[in-house]
Symmetry: C2
Subunit: 321 residues, 2 copies
Amino acid sequence: MQLNTIYEPVREDLVKVEQWLKSESRVDFLWLSMLLSHSMEGGGKQIRPALTLLCGKFYKYDIERLLPMAVATEVMHLATLVHDDAIDKSSVRHGRPTVNKLWGTERAVLLGDYMFAEAGYLTTTTKNLRATQIFTTTLKTISTGELNQSFSAFNIEQTRENYLQRISYKTASLFAMASEAGATLSDAPEEAIQLLREYGHNMGIAFQIVDDILDFIGTEEEMGKPIGSDLSQGTLTLPSMLLLERQPEDNPIRELFQGHNVRENIKRAIELVRNSNIVDECYAYATEYCDKARQQLQTLPEGRTKKSLEDLTVFVVSRKR
Amino acid sequence: MQLNTIYEPVREDLVKVEQWLKSESRVDFLWLSMLLSHSMEGGGKQIRPALTLLCGKFYKYDIERLLPMAVATEVMHLATLVHDDAIDKSSVRHGRPTVNKLWGTERAVLLGDYMFAEAGYLTTTTKNLRATQIFTTTLKTISTGELNQSFSAFNIEQTRENYLQRISYKTASLFAMASEAGATLSDAPEEAIQLLREYGHNMGIAFQIVDDILDFIGTEEEMGKPIGSDLSQGTLTLPSMLLLERQPEDNPIRELFQGHNVRENIKRAIELVRNSNIVDECYAYATEYCDKARQQLQTLPEGRTKKSLEDLTVFVVSRKR
């Protein structure tokens, strides 16, 4: 399942999103322009702006309002990455040096603030108060999720519910926002807005579970960043939890979280997960959420857009990066 | 000039602002509540929310809209402090340990993000799009000013124009926002909105110049943080610039910015400034901006509110912390 094919109904407008992101760096200060172009032109999957545009395609497709919202969604996402990398002291993202690596933590924090503000401003240009409210509420939710992750780092005593809540806050909320905002700005009926929001939420959960799997089974080249980074940050994800459940004694994660032989224990944990059926079980989990996402679409108008949103649920679990 | 007297026309509503700030910490997670109450209840001068309320008092004083905006202004200010302290690695603010000191840089960055989002959300509850646009534009401006400061750190070749531009971005923009938003939300005529915005802008410049003076002549007890912190961050402020102009040779700031004998050179710079008429000259500079601020008020309706805004310009230069 190719993203190009899935994005077909909104392909032209996704190109406009990309152009907009590039034009963001036309600002007064050379250094700001440099920081913005570095962080805005990473060339990600654009899954979030695609969600906004696709979810805006069922009813009145008003590109004047949808375009700034789609851009806002991506800018917000990129801003969270800039802050994440700064606080995790990550040096590589999408195969490129991070902002904090190139210009230091201080500039990364301030650039992220600038980008959040820019994203917020873009939502106001839709002249739809609800769009801005969804945006600000979501940023609160994401920050809460990230804080939750920080406060539970290196804590071995976590339940799957803790995990699901955390990824719901830190990842699924943005997918839900992208979808809800797209539907809202196309004057969809309230029922459709809620269904598409729920679709986005479930997609976001599945997306994050797959992200967490890929941190065990991906390659550094595919991922564009080191493997095992969650464990090195002390973040317990679904694969780690399953490994802890299955092997409560002599578990490398337990030792790692106690600060022993960090590198070796990460390597061992990755090997144990790869050589078990944990990966399959995690994928089954992700697939469940994709199924739930697809179910939300049942009553929505048939057509190319619906097909794309359905196919996107397949892409999310099949992706390699 | 006592702040209590100046705030008299809006005193009751300023109490509501404070209550609101305290109630912000009623959230789902105990750790979030803990972080919020620590950062929201520092008990500052509340000069920014006071500006919003006072500037909203000339025309239709609609507390339903002004209150959330006043709170947003203060929350935004507090969020910038949380981020500033995190990136400057400051350990004390208002005589209390900073968020980053107590809980680490990571949590401080994420808490600041949460607070920005909360402030943005509050502006949307005014249901006035312009208020939210002023807010987001201002946050971009502040971040640009802070980035500017970061990129010009330890650079001895700076003009007064550079300095004024920087403090206009990082400080005066928020004062201008507080005033403009207050006027806007009270349905003031556009001309009055612009005058009050200009009032706020000039007040903000004066306020920052005085802040920069106090970093040389204040005491650690009065300021609630170490003296000379600008110099130790490599930030060139007006007093430093004047010292460099007057004593181009054998200047402690020049040596300090080259990384030599940091502590000793800061101490020497402070002494040299204190024992010169640089402080007077800086105060004269600040007073000029206060005069400009006062001039903006001329055509506005006479009364208690106008008197308060006039008195506030006097307070800003006379304050000791």
